[in-house]
Every structure is written in structure tokens, then in C-alpha cells.
Symmetry: C2
Subunit: 234 residues, 2 copies
DNA sequence: TAAAATCTGTCGGATACCCGACAGGTCGAC
DNA sequence: GTCGACCTGTCGGGTATCCGACAGATTTTA
């Protein structure tokens, strides 16, 4: 088992957080992990459930969010390779704060809670390394809350595309081709699918992005950045 | 100096996070801290600045948020006694993610960065304790993002009042009398002051809250909770 | 105690966004 | 290759919320 897991090491090291860890910690995580596959639509965990450890996305993608009473969805992020999830419950031992669901067939690395406990009991200095993950997520979360209340719709969309493309500030790999349906994007920026579509088509007509089914490609980062600041003809 | 600081110990211990810390850590924090007073409107720190340590609010209140280009404000929270702030930069060493400004004359406990470094270098197990603070804030932040995108305006207001009254899930003391202007409340739920006012008056007419200038008192928690879920005649 | 500053309350017109509906495209499954 | 599932694109009416404006109340400052 171990040998097969080490195949993923270099892939994992594309993510800033993981790359920054001490070697022995990286070794430990990989050698105590196992693989796990989710089919499209299957959930990794749901809000309120107990925690069973830490996960890294190796292939496919996870949608992190919550569904309201009426079925409406609040999407925080769609995380692809090689993002890590599940660290909050590691610290406070409380139930998971949101849902994680596979948007397509997804391959995961699973580090069981017990292995983490053992490690942290014997080397508590590693708490800090895992906390860095939370710090990053908190910064993203603040940035998002800010964008949500300060920016009008069009700028929110542009801003979000940049955020996704950047890998949410280092949480996962950066990418210029964004594999997300307009529907999902809409519930990330809390707009309706229809207006999101309008705003995207607007960006497309200016050759800032190009649209395919289930995919948005950024053509011009600079002008997208300008659009997110509002310095652009609507 | 030390003797005067110990007067605040029992006050600090009203906050769940601080109360949960090991005794020696509480001792260390208090004995390495100093007092600091901010006048109304003065800022403790601004987004982008370097970190100089950790703070606890002992009196008055801090507004945590950001101002947009146009002067519009995004308020994350107004924190009173005895909330702790400034922990994110402690972990990643990056600049502060938002502004902290005194809304009235405010008394603060300041634990300098150097003292924290010394402590954590010699006893890295404490990283975990500080990380708990981040975990709490992250949960609040998620809950908030969720409320923001899933709930209609009226429920957002009710939800937010409950959140503030609960001390943001344990971040600071709980209170039934909320000392916040309707204006501030408005920019926390991202509504205009006018509609926030309408919604509050609506709650007042049902005897769920009572309104004074700069103050909202919750009269009926159960019905406010119902209102935040939408089970209430509008 | 007077003056300044801040906060609350209320009105209507403007508008950004929602939402249902439906057609056409694209993709994966069998 | 064909079918069903999902996704994109577009229209128009309905409406929740914004925004300027202004008056009165309340708190703070001098």
C-alpha cells in the first residue's frame, strides 16, 4: 500500500501548504494514509457528523457548502487537487461545520484521526502546521465576506473567478481553466443562475473569458482583475 | 503593573476560550501583558499592517471589518469584553486581514508578539490552544456566510441578533442588551440602514425586541429564534 | 446649558436582481 | 448511436431592496 501512495507525493507537493511542511511530517501523513474513492454525488461528510480525520483531494473535486431548508445551496468552494479538507474538527473535536460532496468521481487521500492524534501527542509542535491551514481558510473566508457585502454582482463574479483560479489563495493548485458549472458558480457568489450567465456572457464578449459547457477559461487575467475592481465598461 | 493586571483575570475567565486554557498559560498571558486604551474612532490596527501581538477587549468595543473603495463598510463583528483578537497573523506571520477600530473608548490587554514567540518556542504544545481561537472564528465565519446566502433579509437580521447575543458562539461574553447602532447592524447583515430599521421595528411591534438609541434588547429569545428560521408572520 | 454630532424613523421613486418558463446544446451511459 | 440527464442561453414580469431626502429624537461635546 505504502509504495502506491508515494506516487502521489509530488502531486501533493504542488500545494503550498503541504510543500511547506517539515519532511518528516509529510512522510508521516503519506505513510499513514489510505486511498478512498467517491462516486459522483456521494458525500464525504455532512454537517453535524463526527470527524474521522483529514483528507486531501487527489483527483476529481469536492463541493464544500451547505443546503438550506428550502433546498437552496450555499457553496463555499469547489476544491480540486490538491486541497486539504477537514482540519477544523481536528482542533476542536466538534462536528463538521459543512457538507463535502463529490462533484464527479473523486480520489481522496485519507489520514485517519487516530494517526493524527498519535502524531500530535508525541510531537505537539505540529499543531502549528495544521493551524496554518485554518489561517489560510480564515483569510479566504474574510476576503469572501468582504467581496460579498462590498461588491456589486458583476465584480463579485470576476472576483470569484480570480479566487478560484488562484487556488483560493494557495489552498489548492492554481488553474486558468475552471471546471465549474455556471450553476455552481452562481451559488458561490449568491446570485441566480440566470444573472450569473448574463455577467459571464458579458465577460466573454469582451474576450476576457471563454465559455464551454461546465468550464470557464480565463483569457485575460489583467482585464479580469480590472473587472473585479469595477474599472471596466459594463 | 502585574498586580493591576490580575484584577482583570476573573473578567477574562468569563470567556469560554480563555477559561479553557491551562492555568500556567493563563498566568503567562496575563503577566506578560500590558494595558492599552483607545479613544473612540482610533484604530487598533488596519488591514495590511504587520502584527504586534494579541489583544483582549476589557472594556468598550472593537469593530472588526473593512472599508471598501467607495467608503461603504463591511462589518464582520463588533466585539466587546472579553473577546480576543489578532490571532491569525500570529500563525502565518502575514499582515492583518482586516481593520480593528474602537467604537467607543476601549480598554485593551496587549500581549506582545515577542512574549508569545518565547512562550511558543519553549512550549509548542500551546499552538493548539491558540488555534482553537481560529477554529471558533472559522465556524462563526461559515455560519455567517451560510446565513448570508441562504436567508432572506428578515431572517438574516434575527439570526444576526442571536449571534451577537450569544457572543458569536463563545468568542465573547453573551448579552441580551446589544449595544450596536442600527447602522452598524445593517452593515453586518449587508442591508441598507433603512430596511434594517424597518425589520427591527417589525420585531419590536411583536414585542420580540425593544429599541433604544444605539441599543437593542432581546425580549423573547424563543420567538427571535423562530423568526430567524422564518416561522413567523411577517 | 447650548450646540454639535449621531442615531432613528419614514417616504416614494429607481433598479438590480429574482424566478418561472422554455428551447437548444452538450455530455455521459447503456 | 440514441437516450436521458444536465447544462447553457434568453425573455419578461414581479419585487425586494437601495438610495436620497428630511425631520425628530437622543447622546455627546464644549
Amino acid at each position: 500500500m505504502e509504495s502506491s501512495l508515494h506516487r502521489y507525493r509530488s502531486q501533493l507537493e504542488t500545494t503550498p501548504w503541504f510543500r511547506g511542511l517539515p519532511v518528516e511530517l509529510r512522510d508521516y501523513l503519506i505513510s499513514h494514509a489510505s486511498l478512498l474513492t467517491l462516486e459522483k454525488g456521494q458525500s464525504l461528510y455532512r454537517r453535524g457528523e463526527q470527524s474521522y480525520g483529514l483528507y486531501a483531494v487527489l483527483g476529481g473535486a469536492l463541493a464544500i457548502g451547505t443546503v438550506g431548508l428550502d433546498g437552496k445551496e450555499a457553496l463555499l468552494a469547489v476544491l480540486g487537487p490538491t486541497a486539504w479538507v477537514g482540519e477544523i474538527s481536528m482542533f476542536d473535536g466538534l462536528p463538521r461545520p459543512n457538507d463535502a460532496t463529490a462533484v464527479s468521481r473523486t480520489l481522496l487521500l485519507h489520514v485517519p484521526g487516530a494517526a493524527l492524534q498519535d502524531l500530535l501527542d508525541s510531537a505537539p509542535r505540529y499543531w502549528r502546521d495544521f493551524a496554518l491551514l485554518m489561517a489560510q481558510r480564515l483569510r479566504v473566508s474574510f476576503e469572501n465576506a468582504e467581496a460579498m457585502t462590498l461588491l456589486p454582482a458583476a465584480q463579485r463574479v470576476a472576483n470569484r473567478l480570480l479566487m478560484i483560479a488562484s487556488g483560493y489563495g494557495g489552498l489548492n493548485a492554481s488553474q486558468r481553466r475552471i471546471r465549474v458549472s455556471q450553476d455552481s458558480l452562481a451559488s458561490m457568489v449568491s446570485l441566480s443562475r440566470q444573472t450569473t450567465n448574463q455577467l459571464l456572457r458579458n465577460l466573454e464578449s469582451q474576450r476576457i473569458v471563454s465559455l464551454k459547457s461546465g468550464e470557464i477559461t480565463i483569457l485575460d487575467f489583467d482585464r479580469l482583475r480590472a473587472a473585479s475592481l469595477g474599472d471596466l465598461n459594463p
